[in-house]
């Protein structure tokens, strides 16, 4: 049975000008221990989706406009505040892009891990467990480093501390929102390998959010590609990335310069990612698509199954 199930989730954002649907009819499921990736460019709705899983979005300006989120067979929208607080950082932990912004600069990193243990695993709130967690995230000399303040550590080390804090509650699902985007490439590689090792060792599921197709390629079992608030393609990572069916996935893969391909003109996608207040009618990608037909601007195409768990939102590529 799935650990996380999202069914037809829609999220709206309101401002003075109006209300926009920034996540539209999103469904996905993650099995225990699985690594799942949400791919998308800025503004595609991937981070909002991640935060909505434990109702972390402030309302207003955000509001839930329908759908259901179930974690470990609990309906997240039906939970009372107390249970919800235990879920956040408990069964579901988060790490984010910028560890510096999420650590308290005036407390030692050991204290910040202890805080999490006290909250979610009070029986283990002791020094040994802190050292164990720092060892788990491969911080050298953990007995000494737990006395460090955040400013004494490098970006890569801080992200490891963030992961240690996230692991303190022994979560079933770790949501990693662009965890390596701010890091240098050699450190990024170390953090990704660490996440992969922890996933296997601890058996927790990981939901990775990234715009970097290479990261996704190395990490994910299954992926969902988002564009302008909608999933446009969904399926096994190797299949989606090696044989994309939606024109957006295809164009995105073509647009990224690849190492070893020498000097050539890149296949850019024309135009810009549309902002929420001007999502095009019909298929939201039709204004930038090279396959577009007159019908594309009229009705929103549904996600259509394309075999083997694959879903594609394009009536031209996958006719219903």
């Amino acid at each position: 049975m799935a650990l996380l199930e999202v069914n037809d989730l829609s999220i709206e954002l309101s401002d003075r000008q109006g209300t926009y649907r920034i996540v539209d009819g999103l469904s996905l499921d993650i099995a225990p221990g699985e690594s799942f990736c949400l791919i998308g460019e800025s503004g595609s709705g991937k981070s909002v989706t991640a935060l909505s899983l434990t109702r972390l979005l402030p309302s207003p300006p955000f509001s839930y406009a329908g759908g259901e989120v179930r974690i470990d067979n609990q309906d997240v929208f039906g939970l009372d505040d107390r249970t919800l607080r235990r879920l956040r950082g408990g069964k579901v932990s988060y790490i984010f892009q910028d560890p510096v912004a999420y650590l308290n600069p005036v407390h030692r990193v050991g204290t910040q891990i202890l805080e999490m243990l006290k909250l979610h695993r009070p029986e283990k709130a002791n020094q040994e467990r802190i050292v164990e967690l720092l060892k788990l995230v491969e911080i050298p000399a953990p007995e000494l480093r737990l006395k460090d303040y955040p400013h004494q550590m490098s970006g890569g080390m801080l992200q490891r501390v963030m992961i240690a804090i996230a692991l303190a509650s022994e979560p079933l699902l770790l949501v990693a929102d662009e965890p390596t985007t701010a890091l240098d490439v050699t450190v990024q590689e170390q953090i990704l390998r660490l996440l992969e090792k922890l996933r296997r060792q601890l058996g927790m599921a990981v939901l990775l959010i990234s715009h970097n197709l290479g990261v996704v390629h190395d990490f994910a079992d299954r992926v969902a590609v988002m564009y302008a608030g909608q999933v446009v393609e969904y399926g096994k990572a190797t299949e989606v990335l090696n044989a994309p069916q939606h024109p957006y996935t295809e164009a995105l893969l073509e647009a990224a310069p690849r190492i070893g391909s020498g000097q050539h003109r890149l296949q850019a996608i024309p135009g810009q990612v549309p902002p929420p207040h001007s999502f095009p009618s019909g298929c939201r990608f039709h204004t930038r698509c090279n396959l577009t037909e007159p019908s594309c601007s009229i009705s929103v195409p549904p996600l259509h199954p394309a075999g083997d768990g694959r879903m594609v939102r394009c009536p031209i590529r996958v006719p219903s």
């Binding site: 460019e41 800025s42 490098s154 970006g155 890569g156 080390m157 240098d184 490439v185 050699t186 450190v187 990024q188 590689e189 170390q190 990704l192 390998r193 715009h211 970097n212 197709l213 290479g214 990261v215 996704v216 390629h217 190395d218 164009a251 995105l252 647009a255 990224a256 310069p257 690849r258 190492i259 070893g260 391909s261 020498g262 000097q263 050539h264 003109r265 890149l266 296949q267 850019a268 996608i269 024309p270 810009q272 990612v273 902002p275 930038r288």
Partner: protein, 323 residues
């Protein structure tokens, strides 16, 4: 004559020490030499803190080198007179990483792009300037309707185009591009890279292209320098370094690119360690603390950048000259 020649450039910053009267120096750029021809691109890759931005800033006179020479068309830029300096500031322009922070939010696009033209006295009649601004905006893929709008009304990719138009306005010969596409989405990044390539052909521009993304650098550069803690560890034809990196650091960088791992690399032991602080550069080879091949000699003796083929330089004790 080369357009740009940099010889043994050093930039050192004095930083606060721990105790009284203690002086510490941060060697941001250490003994860097390179040349750049008209219409060519030299790429500079390295991780954060390696000194690549210091190097860039010294070329546009935002930073004064501690030692070494920068020659532009044969003239040393550090002892130019006022008029020469003004012309140098025109001919060398810079494009920045953050298209949000590098445009004045209170100026219309027209005012931003026209600023350089006016300051350099290239044109004086308002209608002539306006025509030129529109021509430049069209050149970078925007249209005349952009002139009266403000930066906040544009997306990141469009702002980067405005930044490029602004640099082009004064008809430069060399553009220093400091991570120009790092903040952009993949779909837009390709547009900007293609634009930079077109402009290079149209105007015979030279680029110093700084990035941490090796795939981008391979796409745009003819020559490449790999920088680590202020020093160049490998320098030569971009294609060659990317396909057959010789320095262990270049190898580590290339193997770390996500999505680049192949079956054969599955048992690759991976990158190790963190970049040491530039305040505390290890003695000997700066990379020895993370190098899988390091020997006793690497800890003691700093390797010099030496040719392994006439145009391909590597600073590593363990790499032999190719005959």
């Amino acid at each position: 004559m080369k357009l740009l020649e940099v010889q043994e450039l050093e930039i050192r910053y004095r930083v606060q020490g721990n105790g009284f009267r203690e002086r510490r120096y941060l060697q941001a750029v250490n003994q860097i030499s390179f040349e750049l021809d008209r219409g060519r691109t030299i790429g500079l890759v390295g991780e954060s803190g390696c000194g690549k931005s210091s190097l860039a800033r010294s070329l546009v006179l935002l930073e004064e080198p501690t030692n070494g020479e920068i020659r532009y068309q044969g003239r040393n830029i550090l002892n130019m007179n006022r008029a020469e300096r003004k012309d140098y500031r025109r001919s060398v322009q810079m494009i920045f990483q953050d298209p949000y922070g590098s445009l004045n939010p209170k100026l219309t696009v027209e005012a931003s792009v026209a600023e350089g033209i006016r300051l350099q006295g290239l044109m004086t009649k308002p209608d002539q300037i306006q025509k030129e601004v529109i021509r430049l905006l069209e050149k970078v893929g925007l249209d005349a309707s952009a002139t009266k709008r403000y930066p906040r009304q544009f997306s990141g990719g469009q702002r980067q185009r405005i930044g490029i138009a602004r640099a082009l306005a004064v008809r430069p010969e060399l553009i220093v591009c400091d991570e120009p596409v790092s903040a952009l989405d993949v779909s837009v990044q390709a547009q900007v890279i293609n634009l930079l390539r077109e402009l290079q052909t149209d105007f015979q521009l030279s680029y110093l292209f700084i990035t941490h993304d090796l795939a981008v650098v391979e796409n745009i550069s003819h020559e490449l320098m790999v920088m680590y803690l202020g020093q160049i560890v490998e320098q030569g034809p971009a294609k060659k370094i990317i396909s057959q990196p010789k320095h262990p650091y270049s190898q580590m960088l290339i193997a770390s690119i996500p999505g680049n791992r192949t079956e054969a690399d599955e048992n690759w032991s991976g990158s190790r360690g963190d970049i040491p602080s530039p305040l505390n550069v290890p003695p000997g080879c700066p990379f020895h603390s993370r190098c899988p091949l390091a020997e006793e000699r690497c800890r003691l003796e700093r390797p010099l950048l030496k040719p392994i083929t006439p145009r391909h330089l590597v600073a590593c004790h363990l790499v032999a000259t190719e005959d």
